[in-house]
Amino acid sequence: MKQNLIALVSGLIFGIGLALSKMIDPNKVLNFLDVTGNWDSSLALVMIGALLVTMSCFHFIMKRDTPILEKTFRLPTRTDINTPLIIGAILFGIGWGLAGFCPGPAIASLGLDLLDPVIFVGAMVGGAWLQGVVFKKT
């Protein structure tokens, strides 16, 4: 069950990163998306910092035949750009631009004793649930 420990540690580091980077501040996210206004470009650096690490690490990890604790890598294999992908991304972007929360920071905020993230995550789970019902995905 070392995999569970890794998931916990990965989540911990992710959560600290979201807080340190200020990705967790929805106003800052909205100021980042506000490119024609008083643009706060900081969050572009969050993506760059994250990609610097993932691009270098993934390069070496993907040379392995298997991950350390599992028999196989479970990675998406599709390569087609289809309508659900694009429509989904458009809808997600609209929601992101309305409130400044994407799933990671919203979830990470649940322990902060604030009502907004709880309401947002409740609505988000509702949206995901409806998507599952409409598209009969399990």
């Binding site: 989540g11 807080a19 929601g95 990470a108 995901a128």
Partner: protein, 143 residues
């Protein structure tokens, strides 16, 4: 500009990348928040505990950091429910339909040079920026 916070952004981003790299190296999985969550709807036998622990880790990590460094942020208050609820709904529906969000498509997918993830990331960034433009500058709501 005083709101520009380059160092915390870069180092925070690197931590996010580190979390994603651990998940891939040890567990062979993509660290995508929306995907990890939707795998709990409904929970499947033998495949739920790590998902819950990941979510718990995120909450504990963020809460601990902001408790130790309370001056590093100010929580938003009085955000209208009329925006918050539809926003959450669209984010949930959209990320599940599009198979990912900022962490899965953005941080992990781009690093794998996935054409789907690159397309999705460009699309939701544009869509988010257009939405903010409409809300703040065309309608004139600034919160």
């Amino acid at each position: 500009m005083e709101s520009f916070t380059p160092y915390s952004a870069i180092f925070g981003g690197m931590l996010i990348g580190l979390g994603a790299s651990l998940m891939l190296l040890f567990n062979g999985r993509i660290m995508g928040t929306s995907g990890i969550l939707s795998g709990l709807m409904p929970p499947k036998k033998g495949d739920w505990l790590w998902r819950v622990l990941f979510v718990v880790g995120m909450m504990v990590g963020a809460t601990t950091f902001l408790t130790v460094f309370p001056e590093s942020w100010s929580p938003r208050s009085d955000f209208p429910l009329a925006l918050l609820i539809p926003a959450g709904f669209l984010v949930g529906f959209g990320t599940r339909l599009g198979n990912g969000c900022t962490s899965g498509h953005g941080v992990c997918g781009i690093a794998r040079f996935s054409i789907r993830s690159i397309s999705a990331t460009v699309t939701f960034m544009l869509s988010g920026a257009i939405t903010v433009f409409i809300v703040r500058h065309l309608i004139g709501i600034s919160l």
